[in-house]
Structure formats: structure tokens, C-alpha cells
């Protein structure tokens, strides 16, 4: 069912494109870094309810910005099927004698790798800004969270890409899906400050658990336990892969 060569080829293609598109890499890093720098510096001296006073805001912010970068780059990664459709290359993939699952998994593998590289770069820069991790073992666990966040939103992007005819609907997805997911997730502030009804909404946002898991594993502060966050992310990412594959399989290649 799963064709390893096809999976590898599609992964390799993403890597080659990623390495060649230097401006894209710079662009993808710029936004999270600006967020980190300006929000971090701007709110540096503020006491925010829900964040204890001995935790400075930049520390709180780093996992949130990592989550944001993963959310954006992964959803775009899933949506990039639409660019392949636009440039005709999707047909070449669709007539190849490989299962659709391999195609989806190859794309996800490529997307996760690029998203992970970006996250590690952001993390490296935040180390330069004084960010510290609490333990190496938990740092490795945070990488697992990054992978799960990335898989979840690659799946989401793929679902949208399969339902959309062309890239026209891109800004709608951007404004009505990606941004709400970002703001509901507590990337920038503790969710305890939300009114009750908004907190409910944040409970159905996968990124909430992703970022909470990143905070738990990177700075040791979180609303839920690590295990619960991990469990939620495993469920979300599995569901998204299955739905993404299902919709991709149903969509016609032309």
C-alpha cells in the first residue's frame, strides 16, 4: 500500500525546492522572528495575569512563536498542492502508479522536515536572545510536539487544497482559519484570561495543546499535563492525516 520510493521521491523534491528557494526560507523565518523581537521587547516589563512574575514574557512567548511558525508553514505546505495544480505538476503525480496514501505521506514528510528546520532555526536564534531550556530530555520531547503540530496542520492544508479548485481561496483560509487558530491557541497570552465562551473555542483548537505541550517541555509551565497534551496531539494529527488522505483521494487530478 505504501510505496517507500515514491514517499522518498516526494520528500526529496520538497527538500530540493526548499534549499533552492532561499528567499522563501528567509521570508518564513522573518515573521516569527519579528513577532518574537517586537512583542518580546514591547511587553518585556509588563506583568501579565496568568504568567507568574519570575517568568519573563520572552520566555513565555518563544514556544508560542514556534507554534505559530509551525502552524503557518505547515498549513501552507498542505495548501501547496494547489500550486502543483496551478503549474500542472499535480497531474504528473496523479498518473504515477503509486497509492494516493504514499503521495500524501511523502508530502507530509517533506512538509514536516522543512517546518522542523525552520523551528530549530527560530529556537537557535532565541537561544542567542537569552532563551534557555530546562532539560535536554524535555527538549527532545518538544521536537515530538513540533512534528505533531506540523503533521496536524499539513493535513488541514491538504483538506482545504483538495476541496479548493485554485489558489483564489487562499486568503480566505488565511484570514478565517489560520489566524483564528493562531489567536485561539494562547500563543501570545495565557488562555486563563479569555472569557469562558472563548476558552471553550480554544479547546477545539489543536494548536492549544501543541503550544501548551511546547511550553511544558521547553519552559516547564503549562495549563495541562504533558501526557494529556501529547495524547491530544496524537489524536488530532492522526485524524488530520486520515481526513487529508481521504479528501485527496476523492479529489480528481484535473
Amino acid at each position: 500500500m505504501i510505496n517507500k520510493t515514491a514517499l522518498y521521491v516526494l520528500w526529496l523534491r520538497e527538500m530540493k525546492r526548499f534549499v533552492r528557494a532561499k528567499s522563501r526560507v528567509v521570508g518564513a523565518l522573518a515573521m516569527p522572528l519579528f513577532f518574537l523581537a517586537f512583542l518580546g521587547l514591547g511587553f518585556r516589563k509588563m506583568t501579565i495575569p496568568g504568567i507568574s512574575e519570575d517568568v519573563n514574557y520572552i520566555r513565555f512567548l518563544v514556544p508560542g512563536i514556534l507554534g505559530m511558525s509551525l502552524l503557518f508553514s505547515s498549513t501552507f505546505g498542505g495548501l501547496s498542492v494547489l500550486w502543483d495544480k496551478e503549474f500542472g505538476f499535480l497531474k504528473e503525480i496523479m498518473v504515477a502508479p503509486v497509492s494516493r496514501v504514499s503521495i500524501v505521506l511523502g508530502r507530509i514528510a517533506g512538509g514536516v522536515t522543512t517546518a522542523l528546520i525552520q523551528s530549530v532555526l527560530i529556537l537557535a536564534i532565541s537561544f542567542l536572545m537569552g532563551f534557555k531550556i530546562i532539560s535536554v530530555l524535555l527538549f527532545l520531547l518538544s521536537l515530538a510536539f513540533m512534528v505533531l503540530i506540523s503533521v496536524t496542520f499539513l493535513g488541514l492544508g491538504l483538506i482545504f487544497a483538495s476541496k479548493m479548485k485554485d489558489i483564489q481561496g487562499f486568503s480566505i483560509v488565511m484570514n478565517f482559519v489560520i489566524f483564528p487558530l493562531f489567536f485561539l491557541s494562547g500563543a501570545l497570552y495565557p488562555l486563563e484570561n479569555f472569557p469562558a465562551w472563548l476558552r471553550y473555542l480554544s479547546h477545539i483548537d489543536p494548536l492549544t495543546y501543541g503550544i501548551d505541550g511546547l511550553r511544558a517541555s521547553l519552559i516547564g509551565i503549562s495549563s495541562y499535563s504533558i501526557v494529556f497534551n501529547l495524547l491530544m496531539m496524537v489524536i488530532f494529527s492522526s485524524v488530520m492525516i486520515i481526513l487529508g488522505t481521504y479528501f485527496f483521494e476523492k479529489s480528481e487530478g484535473v
Partner: protein
Amino acid sequence: MYAIKVDNLTKKFNDVVAVDHISFIVDAGELFGLLGPNGAGKTTVINMLSTLLKPTSGYGAVVGFDISKSKDDVRCSIGVVFQEPALDIKLTGRENLEFHAMMYGLGKEERRKRIKEVLELVELTEKESVLVEKYSGGMKRRLEIARGLIHKPKVLFLDEPTLGLDTQTRRHIWNYIKKLNKEGEVTIILTSHYMEEADFLCDRVAIMDNGKFVASDSPEKLKDILGGDVVSMEIEGDPESLMGQLKSLEWIETSTKHGEVLSLTMEKGERRIPQLINAAQKNGVNVTCVHLRKPSLEDVFLHFTGRTIREQEASQSERNRAMIRARMGRRR
């Protein structure tokens, strides 16, 4: 051995019937042409046979594999060159080929060998490490043909292989196609709306119009239907009585009126022209211009549909828009 067998194949997009109960057989090794104006349904046929579109009804098989049931077997047996480029322009020519060969399960040694062969065939060896975005239209087309051949398909689909190319490149590609078919024993199905292309290349053509086959045979036999020569006369005046008289002449095989132009087919047309002009004058019609030629597939199309392919394309555009609307609706 059949390469392709199609029986009552139909594709509807909502209410618009793009392909309407067509049936045909292509023998192994044949070079078969699907001919017709844009929007006649040629690409839809190719898309169904290459498993990209699901037929609404009917049966289709490629080298014995059912296109609805054994998709992977069909995909392994075919190569497709789509109407629009389907290359990754951010990869080099070689990488595009490499990618394709791996997807089709070729081993490392075989890949190297086949890629070398096909690059030489389309004369792109020197450009193999250039990014495809730097390629010209003709080079892209050649790369795609090369790619379609790497895995030695039994059947190669070429959808408008020379669309938008200059005359020289077109000739070049025609020669490849002929060579491939003759030497490589590949069955080739090509679509075209260039009648002279089909005439030059194909062993057999099917003329498609509004989703249906209107005629199917070798180009020579199709042209023979029209008889020896085509004489077209531009006329002024009321042609009613002249048409009546022409119909009674037994040496005129077919006559079609089309605007100000009468198209007549007959043997030894050059000897009949004086008689025709005479007849016209007797019926009070002024002949302003006479043209004699051997019939082309264009005339065959005119004969079967009553319109030239150009006009057909104009009237098709409204139908196409309806089809696009129907397809958009289907997706939303």
C-alpha cells in the same frame, strides 16, 4: 492485440455531456489520432483513459486493464504528455526525469541508462542540469515526451503535442513521434486540432465533434469519401437554382454551401471548372474566384459537420463556458 478498447464511454459534468457514448478500438502499435475542435471532448477522453477522471458510464480498457478497476495497472502501462506543461520548473530537466523514473519503480542502473537514452532522443543532454524554468516552450515539450518514455510505456498519450509551438519545432516533434512509433513499437494516441498534423502522423483518425465520433478511418480513406478534388467557388447572387442544377450532375460527388463559398468534390476537377462557371452564369450567378485542391482532413471535417473547424471552435466557446461553470459548481 488491442492497445485500447472503449465501449460507450461517457463523461458528464453536471448536465453538460463532454463525451457522449463513444466506442473505438486501437490496435497495438497503431498511431491513432483524436481530431476535432477545442472543446470537442478529446482531452476528457485522454483524462479518462489515463485514470485522472472517472467515467460517468461505459467501459474503457488500456492493454486489457479496466480503467475504473485496475487503475495502477493502467498507470504502469501508459505514458502521458498533457496539453499543459506538467513539469516541476524549480527542478532541473534531469531531476524531473529522475523523479519520474523513481516513481515508476526503475532501479538505479536502469534509471541512469534510460535517462541517458531519452535525453539523447530529444537532444536535451546538454541542458540536463538547467532548471526547467529556463527552458523554452519547445524544450519543455521535448522533455515531457522524454519523460513519458522513460518507463517504456506500452501506450503513449500525447494531448496536443505541438500546441503553441513554432513550425520548426513542430516538425521536429512530428519526426520524433513518427520515429518512436515505428522503432519503439509504442502505441500512440494523440489529440490535435491541427488537421495537417493528424494527416501527416496518424495511421487512423477519429473525428470528434460535440463529444461524439462523427467519422473514423485512415486519413486517406476519409479523404476518398470526398472523391478526387475539391473545387471551391466564391459566388455572388442567389445560388438556389444553381445548387439545384449542380445536384443533378452525376459527376459531382458532394456539394456544400458555406457562406459565399460553394465546395464541390469531383474527379478531374481541373477539366470541370469551365463547365461549372458556365452553369453558374446560366443560373444568373457570378463566380468571383475559383480554387482547386486535393481534399484535406479539413474538408472531411466540413463534410461531416457542415462547418469549418474554426467556426466550430467559435460556437464551442459558449459550450465550453457552460462546461467550466458546471465543473466549478461540482467542486464547490
